[in-house]
Symmetry: C2
Subunit: 531 residues, 2 copies
């Protein structure tokens, strides 16, 4: 694609990197970052650069910030945890909000002054969307001169503004979005701040929005010790976002929040639903926030029943994840709830059928995006270069029928648990690993089955941080017998020395469109285990 | 496909026709049916064969029948309006229901004793599903020896049984389901009983279920003077039904009721939703029956606003349909409601994009079904034989993106009517033709745009019978100037002499997933115009 007069992809990526860096004021930049060996965990380390109040603010969730600003304790502008990109606009926005508050003696909306980060698929006026593609720099989704560049806003962005949120940064993405490791040719690789030997993804904002087609909300949430909600398709508005393989209609990417507590996730979810998103996004179902669904759980009188997915039979969870499962199960049982084994229809079949939907186009969309600039694909997603045959309409229809059959089979299994519980009702939620390890090591994210089964079934899932790796407790299992080579590879990746300190999280999975209930269950579980 | 030992498709079709006829007791058959010329309207004519009580029963809606049986006035067995196919099973079923009532002094469920007809896509135990294909005779959806033949039941069938309905017949379908004229090589062509010069479709049962991907609930409802509900995708359970081009995921067929009054449609819809269909069909959204949505309309205090789609700009409605629009508009205005012109984004664009979804597979599914027996395609759907190129995954994705864009554009237009109404709210519903004529003449169903726009946008629609053609009133417009050749052809089809007496119906169209509200609006409109 490039001619002699066009800058190389390397030059374009370099320029973009510099402009991102330039958007961070010099006095805020940390020079001389210690090496990984000297400082594995940088989450405490960075506090030396902040005042006590700033530390306090960065440890607040969106819910608490909204309350503090609403009560006049903090001003919106004071909340300068603005890290990159559209920082000046955010401060101006915050000032406007403060003026509004001073004039009207009330907040603009329920998210008044709450800083919200957005994944780099959201279109924001005056801000570029590259989605990690060098070829998208200076374009609208790869097309030049559309007039939409830095003008169009995603519906979600408009709604967040109406609610008073302060949009201040967009978080990086894996190019094509189809990897659990954030790597692209613009910003390179994103490490985990809690353990820089591991992969990160996401940000540690008071609340941020991600998208999830195979785990991309839940993976950064889990790996960074945050809560994260993967709603079902059609609950929150995706309209107007950039996407990869847009128009693939079998397994859809969803948008959802991640943050430090359930109260923050509930606040933003409820705030969006209160704006009737079905009036701006034709694919959103008219399902308002249903307080009765969470009330059922929060009143807490009833005995709950849980299914425990100890293993999906394809790859086993590693020791710290097994310990996390154990912590949650014991806490629930101690509180009088019931936990039964979850032995569902084959997850392998689910994964095989689900995976096909992601390669319907034989990699055409990915190759086109990379072809714009000539930049290379990262190892994580270069499988898009190794396939080429597009599925035909008949192939796609056949796979869709199989997918529907598997969904029905799973639904029937879920219903069948009614005969296995003491309560005479089917399980309320499934406790499941989100990945076989606490986090993946760079370049070694080889198994996605624990996150993708939720996308394939379109279930509701909330990630709950449970514990941290302790190398003295979470030892390697000496006598472990691997299921097969794939499982062996995953188990071999686990090394207590490398993983020490890493966040260990699980997911609480509910049926389709059970967002209110699952947030309440996740909050309850979090409280039980002291999170 | 046929070898020398296999019977020809003609023989198979003939045998099937005979077995259908044999299922109707001799004493119920009407021999010597008069010619079309002698008896154009047979709806009154058939009453000579019924007792006064039988006539009374056949004129009752499901709602009234349920009340009569629930009150012990009629027994379930007495309701022998069973026309074909699984007639003995229905009587046995009715007897069992009467026994239940005698023993328990209460009904089994809200549809206790209500005869319900089903389109021949529903799988019913002990009953064959041919969907009009000769090649499906003796098979399960074209496959032999699956063990599912006459065993599997669609989820909807199970739910109707639970509610106490008496299933007694399956109504015929156009082969491939992709035509507004019911024609196939088994039963031939179905004429309109009200005017045998026109096409029919559907049945005149107290309540029946149809499916609709381009109008197939609304077309038979409208052409036969019935009410018909086309719900949005994901409201009622389609799982376990036979289908054509199954797995095409862009515009989905939906299942819905048709019957003589809104009370019947409401009864069956509410009954199904009260059984939580999302627990048996993975594609149904968890949206229970919402009484507050209909209460808003039924209390009737509020002024309603309507959009009037006088023409879609592609083909104009013929004189009787224009008169029907006028009747409804005047009745609404007289009752104090507001009607504004509906001038939406291009319906032509909608149709062009929507139509592509129905030929994604280049006719492969249709050709395979016909290939099973060697039977020929009817003229109505032989376009499936004249195409062959399958869409690729990338083509499909691009079309899906365009479809989403058009949905959003239409949604925005709907919202924009807020600035055009006196009430300060957007229109509540759109009054639209369902077809350019009251009904199509055999072999002349050349334009589907008035029904398909609803499917393409996935809106909720209820057909309302408005009037009947009066050849002295609904004259041809002498000075009519056609839009183009297509419009001219449609207008030329209208002949007052031929159409005299035919039902003229319209549809009331609401936003997506507005079933309760649209049923209430349709009922209100029906009352206003004295239906």
């Amino acid at each position: 694609m490039s001619s002699s007069s066009t800058p190389s992809w390397q030059t374009l990526a370099q320029q973009k990197r510099e402009s991102i860096l330039a958007a961070i004021p010099k006095e805020w930049r940390i020079e001389n970052i210690p090496s990984v060996e000297d400082q594995v965990d940088v989450t405490e380390y960075v506090k030396q650069y902040l005042t006590q109040e700033e530390v306090q603010i960065t440890q607040c969730g969106a819910d608490e910030i909204a309350k503090k600003v609403g009560g006049g304790v903090w001003s919106a502008e004071e909340l300068h945890c603005l890290h990159e990109i559209f920082f000046d606009a955010a401060i101006q926005n915050a000032k406007n909000l403060d003026t509004y508050y001073a004039t009207h003696k009330k907040t603009l909306g329920p998210l008044h002054g709450v800083p919200v980060s957005l994944k780099d698929q959201f279109h924001v006026a005056d801000v570029e969307t590259t989605m990690g593609y060098v070829g998208w720099i200076g374009t609208f989704e790869g097309r030049k001169g559309t007039g939409k560049e830095k003008v169009v806003e995603s519906e979600m962005v408009k709604m967040l503004r109406k609610a008073g949120a302060v949009l201040y940064c967009k978080t990086s993405v894996p190019h094509t979005l189809m990897s659990g490791e954030t790597v692209n040719n613009i910003i390179g690789y994103t490490l985990n701040p809690k353990n820089r030997r591991l992969t990160a993804g996401g940000s540690s904002a008071p609340v941020g929005f991600g998208t999830d087609i195979g785990g991309s909300i839940r993976i950064p949430a889990a790996f960074n010790g945050l809560y994260g909600l993967r709603p079902s398709v059609g609950r929150l508005p995706y309209h107007g976002m950039a996407n990869s393989m847009d128009g693939q209609n079998s397994i859809l990417s969803v948008v959802g929040p991640l943050g430090p507590d359930i109260a923050s996730l509930r606040l933003v979810t409820k705030t969006l639903l209160d704006q009737s998103p079905w009036l701006v996004d034709p694919l959103v179902h008219e399902i308002p926030w249903r307080p009765e669904q969470e009330a059922e759980i929060m009143t807490g009188g009833d005995k709950l029943t849980f299914g425990l997915l100890a293993s999906d039979g394809v790859v086993n969870p590693t020791p710290p994840v097994r310990r996390a499962l154990d912590i949650v199960v014991k806490a629930l049982q101690a509180a009088g709830h019931e936990v039964i084994p979850w032995t569902p229809p084959s997850h392998k079949d689910l994964q095989d059928t689900g995976f096909k939907t992601w390669i319907y186009d034989g990699g055409a969309d990915a190759r086109a995006a990379f072809g714009l600039s000539g930049e290379p694909m990262s190892a994580q997603i270069k499988f898009f270069n190794e396939i080429d045959k597009e599925f035909s309409a008949s192939d796609i229809a056949a796979n869709n029928v199989e997918l529907r059959r598997l969904k029905k089979e799973y639904l029937d299994y879920w219903n069948s648990t009614v005969s296995k519980t003491d309560t005479g009702k089917p399980v309320d939620a499934v406790i499941s690993p989100l990945a076989p390890w606490p986090a993946a090591r760079p370049g070694r994210y080889s198994y996605y089955g624990y996150s993708t089964w939720v996308n394939i079934l379109d279930y509701t899932s909330v990630v709950v941080p449970v514990t941290n790796v302790d190398k003295d407790v979470d030892e390697k299992e000496v006598a472990y017998t691997a299921i097969d080579e794939q499982d062996k590879k995953v188990q071999d990746d686990y090394d207590p020395e490398i993983y020490d300190g890493a966040h260990v999280s699980l997911q609480i999975v509910g049926r389709r469109l059970q967002e209110e209930k699952m947030l309440a269950v996740a909050e309850y579980v979090g409280k039980l285990i002291g999170k």
